[in-house]
């Protein structure tokens, strides 16, 4: 059950590239781009049963009346790899997949799974009493861009392919709880699970691939099939068709004449690739580009000053953390200094997280206390233990845990100085600055921190994945709003080298709660369980959860939408939330 908590891989890679491009981009790019993730990047708006769609034929040119036609130009820092939903693993490919494909189910603004007017499923799946069988009904009108009907065969093919290990789909962890997928009739599919697995509903917010195009391709050769990399051979199911890919330069999409759902207002979307973030932002200012999902912070004020541009500051679905290592072997004295809960709480108390948000993130973040998407149903809210910046309290906690100042002013216990190395990826200027603040804040309470930047790829390979470090500064994406995926980060079942619990954290109470969370079908009980998790994890602190963050998004003001269709930064691909209902002012 490696679940899709995605390390900010792509983003950090961008950061690397950014740093190669010298000072101009600061390597500080993490932005509104969410980690690839499965397909949880989704959208859908609030509960509004969208039957009474907005007037489509505006009689008078009113600024609030949608206008059909027009072109939207979106900028990106990276090119796609493949938009075959089975293999989508990077943000750019995910963006295109999001625009050209309909999903079986969608997410609403609060991160709940819903059947939208533009979802392939006619309604939410019916789940059997025992929580093991899901029955999905498709919309009969759903069809592919080549005119073929989209049917139960496509669903069966997609799910069976993703869970076939030979296909090596990145989404396999979302579907490996499936026992069988069965076609009942042309529009109905039943899915049987091997065990109760309540986050499964989120796995259904996925795009579907066309069985009639791919069914004869051996699973091992799917990744090499032009479906997903050749626009002419990529049959899709969404509001726009993929029409062109000029490698490294741009992709274009045009309204799909065979689209079965509510017609989008925007006729053409161009996805333009920039190799330099400074240029990307200047293109936005000049008007070459209408929307950018990641404004580097040093350029924020310039963009804000432009009257034609709206800046969206809400943080994205990811958080940064200070991760402790609990494995003694990783320390010179063969003892991890982080073992005392009070010590960890003292560190959390000693850190000025609000200061980091205000000064380093320029306000584009929010301190958080538990690894749950703020505002979503699993957000523990008041149940979480909070830590406000208080040097004296931190010192008191450290003293209670047995730390005594040595001659050099650094705390010591049992002959071990409290000194550790804090690793992060070199070239990420945000982490560089945060590491410096941590160093300063902890020096104030008598802890010595040695920040160390390492090349990203080498770092992940040699330190993070095998769990060989003292402390790290890194991020997780929350683009899957279901909290169950956290199990693979915090449960002691997932130690390195195969698991993601790279800090060797063990808490038996949490181990059990994570299991309960996935095995419970009843949503209100789950909410209770994750509330308990939130309380326990924010008290015991396997990490210091620093802040939720994300680079600001910006849009030219000619992009229009009703209030309920505005972008939702906290969701994966949330910068395209309800893009099918947007329009471009002429």
């Amino acid at each position: 059950m490696k679940k899709p908590n995605k390390l900010m891989l792509c983003l950090s890679i961008m950061a690397l590239a950014g740093s190669v491009l010298a000072g101009c981009s600061n390597g500080n790019n993490t932005g509104g781009n969410n980690a690839p993730a499965d397909n949880a990047g989704n959208n859908k708006a609030a509960n509004a049963p969208a039957n009474n769609a907005p007037a489509e034929e505006p009689a008078t040119p009113d600024a609030n009346t949608p206008v059909d036609g027009g072109e939207l130009v979106v900028s990106s820092f990276s090119d796609i790899v493949s938009i075959n939903p089975i293999f989508v693993g990077d943000t750019a490919s995910g963006d295109i997949d999001y625009l050209v494909n309909a999903r079986l189910l969608d997410l609403d603004r609060a991160g709940n799974v819903v059947a939208e007017e533009w979802s392939l499923a006619a309604e939410l799946p019916q789940v059997s009493e025992d929580g093991l069988t899901y029955t999905i009904k498709l919309k009969p009108e759903a069809k592919w861009s080549d005119g073929q009907p989209l049917t139960a065969d496509d669903i069966v093919y997609t799910f069976d392919t993703i869970r076939n290990p030979e296909a090596a789909s990145l989404a396999i962890s979302n579907f490996d709880k499936i026992e069988s997928v069965t076609k009942v009739d042309a529009q109905t599919v039943t899915i049987k699970l091997k065990q109760v697995y309540s986050p499964f509903l989120y796995s259904l917010t996925t795009s579907i691939v066309p069985a009639h195009v791919l069914k004869d391709v051996p699973a091992k050769e799917l990744a090499k099939h032009p479906f997903g990399s050749d626009p002419a051979k990529t049959v899709t199911s969404g509001p726009w068709n993929w029409t062109e890919w000029k490698n490294g330069q741009y992709l274009t999409m045009e309204a799909n004449p065979n689209y079965w759902g509510p017609k989008p207002h925007i006729q053409k979307i161009t996805y333009k690739i920039y190799a330099d973030q400074n240029t990307e932002v200047q293109a936005l200012i000049k008007g070459d580009v209408d929307m950018t999902s990641a404004i580097p912070l040093p350029l924020l004020d310039t963009v804000k000053a432009n009257e034609n541009i709206n800046v969206i500051l809400a943080p994205g679905p990811q958080y940064e953390y200070l991760g402790f290592n609990f494995k003694d072997d990783n320390f010179p004295g063969k003892v991890s200094p982080f073992k005392g809960m009070k010590t960890r709480q003292a560190i959390a108390t000693a850190l000025n997280r609000q200061g980091m948000v205000d000064n380093i993130l320029k306000g584009t973040g929010t301190p958080l206390n538990a690894p749950f998407l703020p505002g979503s149903w699993s957000d523990p809210g008041d149940k979480a233990t909070t830590y406000s910046y208080d040097v004296e309290k931190a010192k008191a906690l450290l003293a209670e845990d047995g730390w005594v100042a040595g001659k050099d002013g650094i705390l010591a216990k049992d002959g071990q100085r409290f000194s550790f190395e804090l690793q992060y990826n070199a070239g990420n200027s945000r982490r560089e600055q945060v590491a410096a603040v941590i160093q300063q804040n902890l020096a104030d309470v008598g802890i010595e921190v040695k920040p160390k930047g390492i090349d990203f790829a080498a770092w992940i390979d040699q330190n993070v994945t095998p769990g060989k470090y003292e402390a790290i500064l890194l991020s997780w994406s929350l683009s899957n709003p279901d909290p169950a995926s956290n199990e693979s980060i915090f449960s002691s079942k997932y130690f390195p080298p195969t698991g993601q619990n790279t800090g060797w954290y063990k808490n038996e109470k949490l181990d059990q709660l994570w299991i309960d969370g996935t095995l419970t079908a009843d949503q209100s009980k789950r909410k209770e369980i994750y509330g308990e998790v939130g309380k326990e994890i924010s008290t015991d602190l396997p990490y210091v959860f620093l802040y939720q963050y994300g680079l600001p998004e910006a849009q030219n003001k000619k992009i229009k939408y009703a209030e309920e269709d505005k972008p939702e930064s906290t969701l994966g691909y949330g910068y395209f939330f309800h893009v099918n209902k947007w329009w471009v002012a002429p």
Partner: protein, 323 residues
């Protein structure tokens, strides 16, 4: 001459082969290969292995190398690992784009720099000479991408006279007028970079020649200054410049990755940067090979031109490489 060419060509093939081996090994020695970059590191190792298997990355290095070399002998750069695109389709268009950009800048720089350098050599430390020095200092000292950003800020944003970036406006691919407009800013930036060196080289090389005895003799026998400079001095002064030009030839194809990135020019340097971050080995290998070919051709051309400009140089068993 023919024998010389054949020998040099054979040598070149050997050198290229060595270059591909070294590059191949170096690229594979870098941490985090295509499989780790393709996937999220927390993905299950089994999926990762299967991916690598499907991409052909699990074969031993020599097997991978010879497969690549085998394709190459068929004139084929192979396919990208991640999405199975023909590498040639990615690389060749960018080569053309880079040559358009760099070629324009290089040509412009030469046309300006050589006459200017000659002129300055005849009026040492005059106003024009001082100005050239000043520009050379700026050209050397200023990071080109930074100069590019300044130009963008002024000409594209503030005064809105020229396009900000790219090679063509959207929907105008192939329009020559549009291309010229897009060339102005990046060519200005790159020309300044080339100019700085070339003015200095041609001036100093000219000065050196003008000091020689035979020039004095030429003047003494009553030749006009114009004839002295262009007929007697220039030909000799060009020799070192030719060396520099030959050595610079590969730059025309390697491109200026940073300038191309700042101006979002779809060239080979920009492609190399993009592919390096993705560890797309096959593309990196192809680009390295193309650049290596140009390095060798550049050197060869310089040697051949030597023989043409300088009758003292004989290309043969002994003369060749050194000179």
């Amino acid at each position: 001459m023919t024998e010389y060419l054949i020998r040099r060509t054979l040598q070149s093939v050997l050198v290229l082969l060595l270059i591909t081996i070294v590059t191949f090994l170096l690229i594979h020695a870098a941490p985090g290969g295509p499989k780790t970059i393709f996937l999220s590191p927390n993905l299950s190792p089994e999926v990762m292995e299967q991916q690598a298997e499907n991409m052909g990355l699990n074969d031993p290095l020599p097997v991978q190398y010879f497969r690549w070399l085998g394709d190459l002998t068929q004139g084929d750069f192979g396919y990208t690992f991640k999405n199975n695109l023909p590498v040639g389709d990615l690389v060749w268009p960018t080569l053309g784009n880079t040559m358009i950009l760099m070629g324009s800048a290089w040509f412009l720089a030469l046309v300006i720099a050589i006459p200017w350098g000659i002129y300055n050599s005849t009026r040492e430390y005059g106003f024009s000479d001082q100005l050239a020095s000043f520009i050379a200092y700026i050209g050397f000292a200023m990071p080109t991408f930074w100069f590019g950003i300044i130009l963008q800020e002024l000409f594209a944003l503030k005064w809105d006279l020229l396009p900000l970036s790219d090679m063509y406006s959207m929907g105008k691919e192939g329009d020559l007028g549009d291309l010229v407009l897009h060339l102005i800013l990046p060519v200005t930036v790159l020309t300044l970079g080339f100019l700085a060196g070339y003015v200095k080289y041609s001036r100093s090389s000219m000065l050196e020649v003008l000091d020689q005895d035979y020039i004095r003799t030429a003047r003494a026998k009553g030749l006009g200054e114009r004839k002295v400079v262009f007929r007697h001095a220039l030909r000799n002064a060009l020799i070192p410049i030719i060396t520099i030009l030959g050595l610079d030839l590969p730059i025309l194809v390697a491109g200026a990755a940073l300038t191309e990135s700042v101006f979002n020019w779809p060239g080979m340097g920009r492609l190399f940067l993009q592919m390096a971050t993705q560890r797309e080995y096959s593309v990196l290998m192809a680009i390295t090979l193309i650049i290596a070919v140009f390095v060798i051709i550049g050197n060869l051309i310089a040697d051949l031109l030597y023989a043409i400009v300088d009758p003292r140089v004989k290309l043969g068993r002994k003369g060749g490489a050194g000179a």
